[in-house]
């Protein structure tokens, strides 16, 4: 099968149960979906689970998928909804963490850098910078955070973000204005 097939055609094949088409689709989008979730949630293990959940839903919903919507918008909407639901349920579970102090999650900025060859100073700086950005991002309200991530890291248009967040283009514009203003304060940019 041609690996260059457009997403919509792959979805038609997936709807018929074609696992190879599914594999191509997953390989094409796994990094962007994983990073979108990771930047939003801030926990690597949880992000991988959620990214897999996104693709499981793609598989399950392939038969009902209508190609009149752009595939990535549809895919990111699934990911965004999962992220928002995850945040809600983790808020409910937060009080239980008192009793579960042993299960420390690896967070953004606490990566295993053993593959690369950066110097210890670079590592420290990168970790510190990542930690600051993550904590600034995490402090944003959910919709502002998601809009900002989709714009900054996925370079989506306002119209596409509006489609994903199910709101108007002007709402996206004001979400981004507020998100950038908040980040200026959090990151102490003067």
């Amino acid at each position: 099968m041609d690996k260059q097939l457009p997403n919509e055609e792959l979805m038609v094949k997936i709807a018929k149960g074609d696992e190879y088409a599914f594999q191509i689709l997953v390989e094409r989008h796994q990094t962007s979906v994983l990073n979108l979730i990771y930047r939003f949630i801030g926990e690597r293990t949880k992000s991988e689970d959620l990214a897999q959940e996104v693709f499981l839903r793609v598989w399950q919903a392939a038969r009902t998928y209508e190609s009149n919507a752009k595939f990535t918008t549809w895919l990111y909407r699934i990911a965004a909804n999962l992220c928002l639901n995850e945040l809600k349920s983790s808020r409910r579970k937060r009080w239980l963490r008192f009793f579960d102090a042993d299960t420390e999650e690896q967070t953004v900025g606490e990566e295993d850098f053993s593959d690369g060859l950066p110097s210890p100073e670079d590592l420290l700086l990168a970790r510190e910078r990542s930690r600051q950005i993550t904590s600034a991002l995490q402090s944003l309200p959910e919709n502002q955070r998601m809009a900002l991530i989709l714009k900054r890291y996925d370079d989506l248009s306002y119209a596409e973000i509006a489609g994903i967040l199910n709101c108007s283009v002007s709402a996206v514009e004001s979400l981004l204005v507020r998100a950038k203003k908040n980040l200026q304060e959090k990151l102490k940019i003067s």
Binding site: Q30, T31, L34, S130, K180
Partner: protein, 191 residues
């Protein structure tokens, strides 16, 4: 002597320069521009607006500084590294796909249950409560566990005595009376 045209022009320029309204007009324009800076940065304005803002940024220092701050935020965000999925990502995904039993309810059903779950449980508890109440009220209360001594009384007298039992601590036919009867029944049975 009639003032020259040059004098009038110079006077107008002085008034315009010192006029607080001129400054206000500029501030208003800057405020409008600064509201649009985010969309300008993201390239989401119409070409004409985009060009107008570019011109304004060249001439206005405060707006230019505001824009540079936005740019610094954008650059700082670039410091967040990208992660890659592990080699186990797809095999693990396929394993999850092939284990439908362990995945529990489908997302649609989960969604439905999230909304109807609490009312359904409340309804079940209510039905159980009503059933238990009706059982105690009818079945147990009807049993004459402590028959009163048979003294011949007229119908009107018995109706009077029955109506007076409304003032009992546990009036007949109530949940409390049913419970008391049940408790004393069990007590007498265990003896």
């Amino acid at each position: 002597m009639k003032p020259s045209a040059g004098f009038w022009i110079e006077s107008c320029l002085i008034i315009l320069r010192d006029d607080p309204f001129t400054e206000t007009r500029c501030d208003m324009k800057c405020r409008r521009v600064q509201k649009k800076l985010s969309a300008y940065q993201d390239g989401e304005l119409k070409p004409l607006e985009q060009a107008e803002l570019s011109r304004h940024l060249l001439s206005c220092q405060s707006c230019r500084e505001a824009y540079e701050k936005l740019e610094r935020v954008w650059q700082t965000l670039g410091g967040l590294e990208e992660i890659s999925p592990g080699p186990w990502f797809y095999p693990q995904l396929v394993r999850k796909l092939k284990e439908p039993c362990k995945r529990g309810l489908s997302p649609t059903l989960q969604h439905v249950f999230r909304f109807i779950g609490a009312p359904a449980i409340a309804s079940i508890i209510l039905v159980i409560g009503l059933a238990a109440g009706s059982y105690l009220g009818t079945n147990l209360a009807r049993r004459d566990l402590f028959p009163s001594p048979s003294i011949p009384v007229s119908d009107s007298q018995s109706a009077f005595f029955a109506s007076m039992r409304v003032f009992d601590p546990a009036p007949p036919g109530t949940f409390a009376e049913g419970y008391l009867r049940m408790a004393s029944y069990e007590e007498s049975g265990s003896r």
